[in-house]
């Protein structure tokens, strides 16, 4: 029984590696595993670096490419569209997207079309449209793909979604580095970093890391208080407001005298 399982595991294990005779694998690291959001947080830059380990000489078939993605926490959202009704612009149609990441950055060492085939993209959900789960949206509006396009366009304009092709630096098909900028309006949570090495559009090996993004210091304290003791938080906000109002009045009274 155990032997049968072991055999099964052996057969199931690195399918991708079998395609590649040189047995190339990724060794990678991050400049930081923790991003602390403090009061003066204004964005951060993550350096992702690594090397390709191989047991045989570099195959001289197609060139090796690297694709890196960073994905923030996902959640459901609604995309609405305005239309003119009775002379005024109002929201009419809406499409619910079941899961979309709050942040998604993708960087590659060559144009994505060359670095990644469509089947591999489907399997690993690498490009921005693939990272968004939009099942059953066709039933919600006649032209539902337009809503998905609008979501991606709006988020790209805000800098929440970023695609930078040919930005990963790759040396001698072995050493690579990618710089990913995290914007200032980060959501708390686990950010998943994925690395893929490809040859001829096919993924040879992949690697995953997690970056934790947490509020820190005063930010953390305020956030926790607001969610765990909302009544005390609300009353504290009031006391603060009343004290500030009274304080300013008293101060101005003194200055005038």
């Amino acid at each position: 029984m155990i032997r049968a399982l072991a055999l099964l595991l052996l057969l199931a294990s690195p399918v991708a590696a079998q395609d590649d005779p040189s047995g190339e694998t990724i060794v990678a690291g991050l400049s930081q595993n923790l991003v602390a959001i403090t009061t003066n947080f204004s964005g951060s830059e993550i350096l992702i670096y690594g090397a390709v380990r191989r047991e045989a000489p570099i195959p001289d078939t197609a060139p090796l490419e690297v694709v890196v993605t960073v994905q923030g926490p996902s959640g459901p959202l609604v995309v609405r569209r305005k239309e003119r009704r009775f002379g005024i612009w109002m929201n009419t149609d809406a499409v619910t997207i079941s899961r979309a990441p709050s942040f998604y950055a993708i960087a590659s060492s060559a144009p994505l079309e060359e670095a990644l085939s469509e089947t591999e993209n489907l399997r690993h959900q690498i490009t921005i449209p693939r990272a968004i789960r939009a099942v059953g949206i066709a039933a919600e509006a006649e032209d539902s793909p337009l809503f998905l396009d609008a979501l991606i366009r709006l988020r790209r304009e805000e800098g929440d979604y970023a695609l930078s092709e040919s930005s990963v630096k790759l040396l001698e098909s072995t050493l690579f580095r990618a710089d990913i900028a995290l914007p200032a309006n980060l959501t708390e949570g686990d950010y998943k970093v994925r690395l893929f090495i490809t040859r001829d559009g096919a993924v040879i090996d992949s690697h995953e890391e997690i970056i934790k993004v947490n509020k820190d210091g005063l930010e953390r304290w305020i956030h926790n208080l607001a969610h765990e003791q909302p009544l005390i938080y609300g009353l504290l906000s009031l006391v603060l407001a009343i004290a500030a109002g009274w304080g300013a009045s008293a101060l101005f009274g003194l200055i005038r005298r």
């Binding site: 609405r80 109002m90 709006l154 909302p230 938080y233 009031l238 109002g245």
Partner: protein, 305 residues
């Protein structure tokens, strides 16, 4: 200087917020309005999520109103008895409004409803005030012109439950101020404002209160209605951002003191013309937003419907 807001979850320029608070404070001190009807739309434009903008705006209005009312108290321009009657009505109306707000949110057209109420009420009140105050200003330039009677007796003066409001020099039924308070409380809950811009004209034109005590009394009532709103938002949806509020408050309380000094220097009629023009400007801005073709017809809202 960029600052990260813990509840709104985004980074904003601290000085822009201080300036914004200052402008609202000046308005608050000058006119006795909380400034909510200016700050809430401005926070939307800065990219603050609407729910956070409305709740934090209410918190800011508490601070600027406290500061303003203290300045008015020194001038003995607060009618406490009238304020309490308005407040009782206001809290009833506010509770009712919050219920209607929740109901409209489930229907999915709350944004449109809020904007339409802004346009309707700001337009109506602005036009009424401008007409009346311009008339008063012209009359005061011509001393020979017939003076309007200080007291006009409408049907409202025949209602029961009469009460003496000494500071306002009125002896009227408590029903009209109670109703005025309730309708303002209702609107303020729906529009996310203190309601001073509706309360001030209602006191002058509906209740016939002297302009001298209107500003102080309005501020007094607004403090309690917005305090109620702030705590309720904090408990119900955790959308009060303390860091955002504090920045706006610091700007706001300083502005309120400056504003009440400017208010003393201007004549009551001039003050009313200015307030009317400002109310109309905000009305026009929101109306244009509804009428002009928007540059982006799509919008994203987080969470499932």
């Amino acid at each position: 200087m960029q600052l990260y807001l813990p509840i709104a979850e985004l980074s904003v320029n601290a000085f822009a917020l201080l300036g914004l608070g200052g402008i609202v404070g000046i308005l608050s001190g000058m006119f006795g309005v909380g400034g909510g009807f200016i700050i809430t739309p401005l926070l939307f434009f800065m990219g603050i999520p609407p729910a956070v903008a409305v709740a934090t705006g209410a918190n800011l209005v508490v601070a600027s109103s406290v500061s303003g009312v203290l300045a008015q108290l020194k001038r003995k321009a607060v009618d406490f008895r009238m304020g309490l009657v308005l407040l009782v009505g206001g809290l009833i109306g506010s509770a009712l409004g919050i219920w209607v707000f929740a109901w409209l949110t489930t229907l999915g057209q709350i944004d449109l409803f809020v904007q339409l109420s802004y346009v309707l009420f700001l337009g109506l009140i602005g036009a009424m005030m401008l007409k009346e105050s311009l008339g008063a200003l012209l009359r005061s330039r011509k001393p020979n012109a017939p003076i309007r009677r200080a007291h006009v007796h409408y049907a409202v003066h025949k209602l029961p439950l009469k009460m003496k409001f000494r500071a306002s020099g009125l002896y009227i039924s408590v029903i009209p101020p109670m109703l005025a308070g309730a309708s303002v409380g209702f609107l303020s809950a729906i529009m996310g404002v203190g309601g001073g811009f509706i309360m001030v004209p209602a006191m002058i034109y509906l209740l016939g209160m002297p302009t001298k005590v209107v500003v102080g009394t309005s501020l007094f009532q607004i403090i309690f209605v917005t305090a109620f709103t702030t705590v309720m938002h904090a408990v119900a949806s955790q959308t009060v951002d303390m860091v955002l509020a504090l920045l706006l408050i610091i700007g706001g309380v300083l502005g309120a003191q400056i504003g009440s000094r400017i208010g003393v220097m201007l004549r009551a009629e001039q003050l009313r013309v200015l307030l009317a023009l400002m109310v109309l400007a905000v009305c026009l801005r929101i109306a244009l937003g509804l009428l002009l073709t928007p540059s982006e017809v799509y919008s994203i809202a987080l969470g499932a419907p």
